[in-house]
Symmetry: C2
Subunit: 509 residues, 2 copies
């Protein structure tokens, strides 16, 4: 490998090929497809959570860029030897951590096409298909979710693909902020209050920070076991009253359908009722659980959404569409456009001036945007509504099965009731041991670290109401019943070792 010291030479390089030569593209593209197909085929042989130590890669890679080209074969070898060991295998069937990011062949192909066309779709003009397909697919998915017409383009609302929920919340919060400040004056920014619960994703706090909401005006309203860690409308009302008494202005509420820690559901309907009285912008963050709402049996979790202002879900979480793909619908796109638009001369064009087109640059933070709707379109068409529902249901069924296994072993406890495809459980200290909550928390920390270090499965934790619990999230696309059974066996083996118990491992159902 050369180095920058070769600068002075400025030798004529050996590879003068055009870097987008179609036949070279074809040859190397096939090579990488085979690499990835083999990777998926063999994925179970890797430890799920990477076992490397901080700094492992600096020891393996030169400090400066190569001066001369390197063959793709060498690079692929390095990926296998140096990169793969540092990867936590999110696509492994034994991955049950955080919320999985469910890839699929259709989603992958969509991303390939989007990358291949490589259009920069800031406005309609820059590639009409990118904008139009997005409006159509967002209406499709909105209808699959039975969102009210007011969120669809056909009802003067509309949907847009953002990268992540953080961006979706920042955009809607900025729109709400400016709608308010344009009425009452910029100098009142210090009076605006943002509400969520102590279970709301940190994306809300981050968005509020970036949008200049004063940190003292951010409310993480307390939840409790009584409401299964959902935000109580009464508690919201109390918080609002207190702020009004203090001369503050309630601005924005983020209600969550499927919280990160425990998949808790904030009651959308009653919360919107409270918010409506004060003109609060309500955003529904259904990043994880929104996808499940395409199944009639789960749709009731977003009942009341007709009174919200915006709604989002992450198709890259549980909708077979690789990162990143956050679907955001708003009732009043003009509020986004007023807050986020810029109209430089170099982007002026007839289509925009005709007002017949959507220019998505004004619906998001960035100007440039990828052709993300391609992968969502491919996922919906390739699997169809019927299969998509079945895939989601199969994950829920596997989670239910795991729940049954935990419930049968009296050494364990289900900490909060299961709602979707995630189980929150913990091991109880052995009788005779310190049975305080701290002791239980320490025990489960140890149990989880032991399991993850072994590498056969990967789970992560959360703490709600002071209880440290292990989260078992089913959602990786390759997961089958046998992986869930294996996972439970692994948990039991580690619990046995930890408790010094001689209890025989119950046979796998």
């Amino acid at each position: 490998m050369g180095s920058l010291h070769a600068d002075v030479l400025e030798s004529s390089p050996s590879c003068a090929l055009n870097p987008l030569d179609p036949e070279e593209f074809r040859k190397q593209g096939h090579m990488v497809i085979d690499f990835l197909a083999d990777y998926y085929r063999d994925i179970e042989k890797y430890p799920v959570r990477s076992q490397v130590e901080p700094g492992y890669l600096r020891k393996r890679i030169p400090e400066t860029a190569p001066y001369n080209p390197e063959p793709m074969e060498t690079i692929m070898q390095d990926i296998q030897n140096d990169i793969v060991p540092g990867i936590t295998h999110w696509q492994s069937p034994n991955y049950f951590a955080y919320f999985p990011s469910s890839g699929s062949t259709a989603g992958f192909l969509g991303e390939m096409l989007s990358t291949g066309f490589n259009v920069v779709g800031f406005n309609w003009m820059s590639s009409p298909a990118a904008t139009e397909l997005e409006t159509i697919v967002m209406d499709w998915l909105g209808k699959m979710l039975k969102l009210p017409n007011s969120f669809l383009f056909s009802g003067n609302g509309g949907g847009v693909l953002q990268g992540t929920t953080c961006e979706a919340i920042l955009c809607t919060l900025t729109a709400a902020r400016d709608r308010m400040l344009n009425k009452i004056g910029r100098e009142n920014i210090g009076r605006l209050v943002v509400y969520g619960s102590d279970q709301t994703h940190c994306a809300l706090q981050k968005a509020a920070q970036i949008a200049g909401i004063f940190p003292c005006n951010f409310r993480a309203v307390q939840t409790s076991k009584k409401t299964a860690f959902g935000l109580s409308p009464e508690n919201l009302q109390d918080a609002i009253n207190k702020d009004l008494d203090a001369g503050l202005l309630p601005l924005f509420l983020c209600a969550t359908v499927g919280t990160t820690s425990s998949t808790a559901v904030d009651l959308v309907g009653p919360l919107c009722e409270v918010a409506k009285q004060y003109g609060i912008w309500v955003h529904i963050d259904a990043a994880y659980a929104g996808s499940a709402c395409i199944c009639p049996e789960f749709r009731h979790y977003i009942d009341g959404v007709e009174n919200a202002d915006s709604f989002s879900l992450n198709a890259h979480k549980w909708f077979f569409t690789t990162l990143d793909c956050c679907c955001l619908w708003v009732k009043d796109p003009s509020a986004l456009v007023k807050a986020l638009s810029t109209n430089p001369e170099y982007l002026r064009n007839k289509a925009t001036e005709s007002k017949q087109v959507v220019d998505y640059k004004d619906w998001q933070i960035a100007l440039s945007r990828r052709f993300r709707s391609m992968k969502l379109w491919l996922v919906i068409r390739t699997y169809g509504v019927a299969n998509l529902r079945n895939f989601l249901r199969s994950h829920v069924k596997m989670a239910k099965h795991f729940e049954g296994l935990v419930a049968k072993d009296k050494r364990f406890e289900i900490v909060v009731p299961r709602t979707f495809a995630m189980i929150c459980f913990r091991l109880l200290p052995a009788s005779g041991d310190d049975s305080s909550n701290e002791a239980a928390n320490e025990l489960n920390k140890k149990l989880l670290e032991g399991i993850n270090a072994a590498g056969r499965i990967y789970m992560t934790h959360a703490v709600v109401g002071g209880i440290y619990m292990i989260r078992f999230a089913v959602g990786a696309t390759l997961t089958e019943d046998r992986h869930v059974n294996l996972a439970w066996q692994v948990v039991q083996e580690h619990a046995d070792a930890l408790l010094g118990s001689t209890v025989a491992i119950s046979p796998i159902d």
Copy 2:
């Protein structure tokens, strides 16, 4: 194609295959690689700028999602028939609009690998390779640009891959804002002033809007032909003085190396000298021209960067890395982290607590992030520093050649001097015609619209100093000399037609 009305049936779907089945993935992956290789091979047969009318796609696509799966072959046929006509072919060798987004085989393969692994790299723990490769590659590229060590990890600074420049500016502006407000109190947000020039990309204005900077405190300092539309340090000083007199606080300056309209260069060194006196955070936006600075002969355009606080370039513009890939370096990562970090319990882990790792979620707006460094790594290794320089130089050479062609035809004028690989030119009204600037602007609008509508090449426009000019930006990866010659021939033919001139078309060099 089915529809949602089939809901009631809930029929058992025909495709029960796992959606990430390795052999299905392999088969369909090869199909799409061949589709894209053919697309690149045949790309010249398409009109460069899409010729469709607003709303074209709604007429071709059903209003609701299909209930049952559809075969990939059908979908690919629809892409060819319905999507391709709506695409503006950014990868066409005849694409000279905006700034091209230069794809490459290596960049594409990197994106495939990133999508295939589909890791959600919010922190080190979630996939160590994603974080570590990014730190290494950002140091590589920093060294290629001869950035001072203070911007590299080895010098306690560091680089991060953002999606776009808009995000890079918003993150650095938020960091600067909070560093200031934490000292002087949140209530002073209305006193903070942000500076750019009237040529600065609209990303700055948008970032200021989102970050809650008062619109009245945004300064687009006027530029003129005298400084080739670069921001003059004297004018900046004047604007600062005026703001100080009014009791305001200068916060942030965005200086541009290669403006969007005309690739003008703000003089980094002298501007930093002015800014330094007031503790202003200086961000260098080298979105377009930054890449060229890996060539020694262009490096001087960023001289003085050692006195800036942050520096960014878009690898997806002119560095063979598909959208999105904005490289941002900062001297003081802790300022970003303080403004953008959140530490929810569910993300706590030993590696973070050891403080030996970078958690990139705290360097950006979003929590989730793709494995973007993979494509940048592949681009640098596959081509090597030598070839990358040669690719850039070949674009500059082609632009120079076009410049020569324009200069030889007395009917045309080069409006501003060429700096990199873009020519700004215009047609002059024929003698005897109205030769006012308005008439010239109208003439060139007409010329450009005629050329773009014909579809053989695509260029866009800008207005500087009241002059409407046509921008000819060389940068699409497939562009060769013959395309530049063809482009000039197209321009001449349209000019002939427009002027009703009988001047013989000069032979192509």
